[in-house]
């Protein structure tokens, strides 16, 4: 029994890329925050200067990153809840593979969100470049 190719659970419509969107956002957020703080402290504020501008930037990155992760996670949730299937989605069917990928995406999104928050936590406590 095969689905038509436009059907959401058809194999040609599955992608691993959506799985790694959230961790990629986390990595980008980490890198951007790090580079922003480094450039800010070296070129703008000076070694003992205030972190203000970098803090605002990192706050914006964080919001953007969390929204991105949330959208990706929401997508994962929808695929996970497709039809009527219970975790662990381990049946050898296109539907369960579809649900499984969605569920993994959702879990990675949750992990990435926590990691982004942990990284952003630093600038809550630090207000200068030291």
């Amino acid at each position: 029994m095969s689905e038509p190719s436009h059907h959401p659970t058809h194999e040609s419509r599955q992608s691993l890329w959506r799985l790694i969107v959230s961790p990629t956002i986390w990595a980008a957020h980490f890198l951007l925050s790090y580079i922003t703080a480094a450039i800010w402290c070296e070129k703008v504020a000076g070694r003992d200067g205030p972190l203000t501008g970098a803090r605002v930037a990192i706050a914006i990155y964080t919001v953007v990153a969390l929204v991105g992760i949330a959208i990706n996670g929401w997508g994962g949730w929808r695929r996970h809840s497709y039809g009527a299937g219970e975790v662990p989605h381990d049946a050898d069917t296109p539907e369960d593979r579809h649900r499984f990928l969605g569920f993994a995406t959702l879990l990675l999104a949750a992990l990435s969100a926590i990691a982004v928050l942990f990284a952003a936590l630093v600038v809550i406590f630090f207000n200068d470049c030291r």
Binding site: F118, L121, R130
Partner: protein, 328 residues
């Protein structure tokens, strides 16, 4: 033989200083060390709690309820125990640790005592920057007033060293080409030991110092004494020693204020006799060791930059050591 020599000397020095705790971060004598000790105890306590919980869970699973759980209950265990609890615990620890940091690296208030310490292979160049201007230079020993914040400005001309007095506070790297900062608040008087905490070459182990926390009045008196030029030799032997010090060119590397010795390569020796140790915190400061140090530096401290003076006649070495020991 050399090792046993150093070892016995070191033990003797320890005994001299008075028992344990001179280099323990679990016996804090500074505000920063107290916080680090508190963090250590919290983490140890937390670790014990987690470990006990795990043992309890294992016991529960094996003995109390060996039969299978319902799906719902199992999911609760996995999500709660596997994801939520670690997230909360790590989040809490991170928050606690981060909240300590700004204070630990904060600048000392204006007007605080400032000490510039340069870590060199393998000794410490120490300069007290006086608020009224000028500085007092010494080496391989740091004295601090109790109950006051002290700011250390740290750097290095050669390789990365790390400045650490475990009993008083955390450690801070000394990096060639940039200045790092460390603020310490000693809370009780006593003699403690500091070390280089970053491997820096052959004699890294022998790069230490004593940190003496004193009552404020005592500290003031000490600093004033250190500020003075070298003591004038009184007996013929030490007078002779001073002549040898100058004639042998010791002054090309060492400063002894007041006698025209202005070398900057090695440690300032103006008040060498008043220090607790020789060779950067690992040898006792007595006449015998001092003589041996001058004659056989390279054997006592591998790789040391000071050349040995084995070739000097014994009486010259003796007079030199006597003179340096008299510089109280």
């Amino acid at each position: 033989m050399l090792r046993s020599f150093c070892h016995s000397r070191f033990n003797a020095t320890l005994a001299l200083i008075g028992g344990s705790g001179v280099q323990s971060s679990l016996d804090p004598a500074g505000r920063e060390a107290e916080r680090i000790a508190a963090l250590f105890w919290w983490m140890t306590g937390g670790t014990v709690v987690i470990w006990l919980s795990m043992v309890a869970l294992a016991f529960y699973a094996i003995h109390a309820r060996p039969e299978a759980h319902t799906e719902k209950r199992a999911r609760l265990f996995i999500i709660g125990g596997g994801a939520l609890v670690p997230t909360v615990v790590l989040g809490g620890l991170l928050t606690y640790g981060l909240s300590m940091l700004p204070d630990l690296i904060a600048k000392a208030p204006d007007g605080s005592l400032r000490i510039a310490v340069t870590g060199e292979q393998w000794w410490w160049r120490v300069r007290y920057v006086l608020p009224e201007g000028g500085e007092v230079v010494t080496a391989n020993e740091i004295r601090l007033p109790v109950g006051e914040p002290v700011q250390f400005d740290l750097d290095s001309p050669d390789v990365i060293h790390s400045f650490w007095i475990p009993t008083i506070g955390g450690k801070m790297d000394m990096i060639p080409g940039r200045q790092t900062r460390l603020v310490l608040h000693p809370t009780r008087t006593g003699t403690f030991r500091g070390v280089c905490a970053e491997y820096c070459g052959a004699s890294h182990t022998y790069m230490a110092f004593y940190a003496v926390v004193m009552e404020k009045a005592d500290f003031k008196r000490w600093l004033e004494e250190q500020r003075q030029p070298a003591a004038e030799p009184v007996d013929p032997l030490t007078k002779q020693g001073r002549e040898h010090f100058l004639a042998n060119g010791c002054s090309a590397c060492h400063t002894v204020r007041g006698i025209g010795a202005d070398g900057l390569v090695g440690p300032d020796l103006t008040h060498l006799g008043s220090r607790l140790s020789l060779g950067a915190g690992f040898l006792p400061n007595d006449l015998e060791t001092l003589t041996r140090w001058i004659a056989r530096t390279n054997e006592v401290k591998p790789g040391v930059h000071m050349p040995h003076f084995r070739m000097l006649p014994a009486d010259e070495l003796h007079a030199l050591a006597a003179y340096l020991a008299s510089l109280k």
